[in-house]
């Protein structure tokens, strides 16, 4: 055998092997996935979920990200989690009051922002889901959202060369199971942190709030913080804030989960972080501006059924005070998160 042939065939053979280890750029574009790890910002409480049974890895995160943006999860392969949860809106849904599902179906509720989820004690507006790993099957199987059966999702992913590879990278073999899917999605969703707003910098002594924002912060602590408790800007309690019931939706909120009168019209208190980017507001997206939200608390409370005790007399705020609070709320936007390419759609870049 001629040495040239030996060398070249050896080179080709090893190259094949070598490149086999690399992610095919045509299949999975390479987005950054560095510094992916669990974090507890200084001064924050311990999170509710700690990944102790779902150890974080780069491959797990990459798989979770691919699944989050994967339309195969829906019945007609058109909708992904990312369809209604957009990075630039802190993973809320820009402009959509209610979620848009397959076949032009309209969902029942507004898609909330997704960040700091490991501190949440329950999921969805009615808090019906008790564990972050059990959240993904709800929108996947909801007939007006992704409308697909879990069994079909597993089959579609198992049939995909791309996913066999990604599951192998993350879990050591190519087997697709719902458990692996949900754990991987949790490695993506659960690692979306938001703690780099102007407010956070202010708390760390790295930035100044102007006079309006400072007044707003002080008013916020006085009037809003009892429910929208810092640093997460929610206590995650499920309560009624007195919104009049929309007759076309007749959404009884927590009543769907625990069907007793005392649970009707209660919804989970949302975080106010990134609130300037997550419009429209409330569980059904009825308000398009923060001003409308503040106006609700000063004069809009009409549904008294199960109204939270803290809101029995509404919240008194002058127009000037509202303006100050609004200015403060704008300091809660985490621009670093909104453009963090680690959380972007790997199919579009």
């Amino acid at each position: 055998m001629k040495p040239g042939i030996v060398y070249s065939s050896l080179f080709i053979f090893s190259s094949l092997f070598f490149f086999n280890c690399k992610v095919d750029p045509k299949i999975v574009p390479v987005l950054p996935s560095d510094n992916i790890s669990e974090t507890v910002p200084e001064g924050w409480p311990q999170p509710n979920y700690t990944f102790s049974t779902n150890p974080v890895s780069e491959a797990g995160f990459i798989l979770g990200r691919a699944l989050f943006y994967e339309t195969l999860l829906s019945k007609d392969n058109t909708i992904s989690c990312g369809s209604c949860h957009q990075l630039t809106s802190a993973f809320a849904n820009t402009d959509h009051k209610l979620s848009h599902g397959i076949n032009d179906l309209l969902g029942r509720r507004n898609a909330p922002g997704l960040f700091n989820l490991t501190w949440h004690t329950s999921f969805m507006h009615d808090g019906g889901i008790n564990h972050i790993e059990n959240q993904p099957p709800a929108p996947i199987t909801n007939t007006v959202e992704m409308g697909e059966e879990l069994e079909n999702v597993v089959q579609k992913l198992q049939a995909s060369e791309k996913y066999r590879k990604l599951f192998n990278d993350a879990f050591g073999d190519e087997l697709v199971t719902t458990q692996r899917m949900f754990k991987a999605i949790t490695q993506f969703q659960g690692l979306i942190y938001s703690y780099d707003s102007k407010y956070d910098d202010y708390k760390r002594g790295k930035a100044q709030l102007n006079e309006t924002e400072k007044r707003g912060y002080s008013l916020f602590l006085d009037k809003c913080n009892a429910c929208h408790k810092e640093p997460l800007f929610s206590d995650f309690v499920i309560r009624s804030n007195g919104l009049p019931v929309d007759p076309s939706l007749n959404d009884i909120g927590r009543g769907f989960i625990e069907n007793q009168p005392q649970n009707y019209y209660k919804f989970k208190t949302p975080s106010l972080r990134n609130i300037s980017k997550t419009a429209p507001y409330m569980h059904d997206g009825r308000f398009s501006t923060l001003q409308q939200c503040l106006n609700h608390y000063t004069g809009g409370i009409t549904n008294l059924t199960n109204l939270d005790p803290l809101l029995q007399n509404g919240i008194s705020m002058t127009e000037a005070e509202k303006a100050d609070i609004l200015a403060f709320l704008l300091t809660l936007t985490d621009y670093k998160l909104l453009s963090d390419q680690r959380f972007a759609d790997p199919n579009f870049q």
Partner: protein
């Protein structure tokens, strides 16, 4: 140096070995790092055997057949199209009251799949067993423990995705007295906590017989699940008034209180 290189160049076999070495080192296959926890004092393998549980499904004295007409204890006619339930947390009680607890014991019994109605319990220590304990349903811990797999995979259709929790038992069918579309009857028994929990614990003795697990002795315990137990004692359930129960709460509790004795011992082989 040059002569050494020539030597390598003219030895294809050595090159081949070098190639293999490179391939091995570049390969991205990970070493199998899974460590199987070892029992500190494992009894000899010969001291373990198998035991089987076999479930048969009946409506009172009649064997269950899908689509066949039966009467409930109130005399209401009904048919069955689906019947599934979880059996979990198996514990075998020896004659001396010592216990053998089966680890990871979660089984989904589906009346339409004969393979699912026979449960194998392997690695049972040799001995004579007088009763068995289990939970009809899934314990509360697994209801709050995040993503599960195997029998507990939510793809099995025994899980509420919007209101986390397992369906402990599912019965679907039809009854002329049901006023719901299609005369449907549907009982998805769920709810794992508080007063309205629907999982139920059983301890079933073998009528003073003992199930001996020994070399060449792998006993089969035959159990019977009677669907009509869901509809009476202590609570009378009529299809006209309660055709559908698909959420947790007081109605689910009514039926769970009925089915807490639906599984009985019928024989040992």
């Amino acid at each position: 140096m040059k002569s050494g290189l020539n030597k390598v160049r003219f030895n294809p076999f050595l090159l081949f070995l070098l190639g293999i070495f490179l391939l091995t080192s570049l390969s991205c296959k990970k070493e199998d790092t899974q460590i199987t926890p070892k029992d500190p004092s494992p009894p000899p393998a010969s001291q373990y055997g198998s035991l089987y549980l076999e479930f048969s499904h009946v409506v009172d004295a009649q064997l269950l057949e899908f689509g066949k007409k039966y009467l409930n204890p109130s005399g209401d006619t009904f048919t069955v199209s689906k019947f599934m339930y979880y059996i979990s947390n198996l514990v075998l009680v020896k004659e001396d009251n010592s216990l053998f607890t089966q680890a990871e014991s979660y089984f989904l019994v589906d009346a339409s799949k004969s393979s699912s109605t026979k449960i194998s319990i392997n690695s049972v220590p040799y001995g004579k067993y007088k009763s068995i304990r289990f939970v009809l349903g899934v314990d509360s811990i697994r209801n709050v423990a995040g993503a599960q797999t195997g029998a507990l995979d939510p793809a099995n259709g025994m899980f509420w995705n919007w209101n986390t929790g397992y369906i402990m038992l599912k019965l679907e069918g039809a009854a002329p007295s049901s006023t719901v579309f299609g005369n449907t009857i549907e009982y998805h028994m769920g709810g794992y906590k508080g007063v309205n929990k629907t999982q139920r614990s059983f301890e079933i003795g073998f009528n003073s017989l003992t199930a001996q697990v020994a070399q060449d002795k792998n006993p089969k315990i035959r159990l019977q699940t009677n669907i009509n137990e869901m509809f009476s004692n202590p609570n009378t359930v009529r299809f006209a008034t309660l055709p559908i129960v698909t959420s947790s709460g007081a109605n689910a509790k009514l039926i769970a209180d009925n089915y807490q004795d639906m599984i009985t011992f019928i024989g040992l082989e």
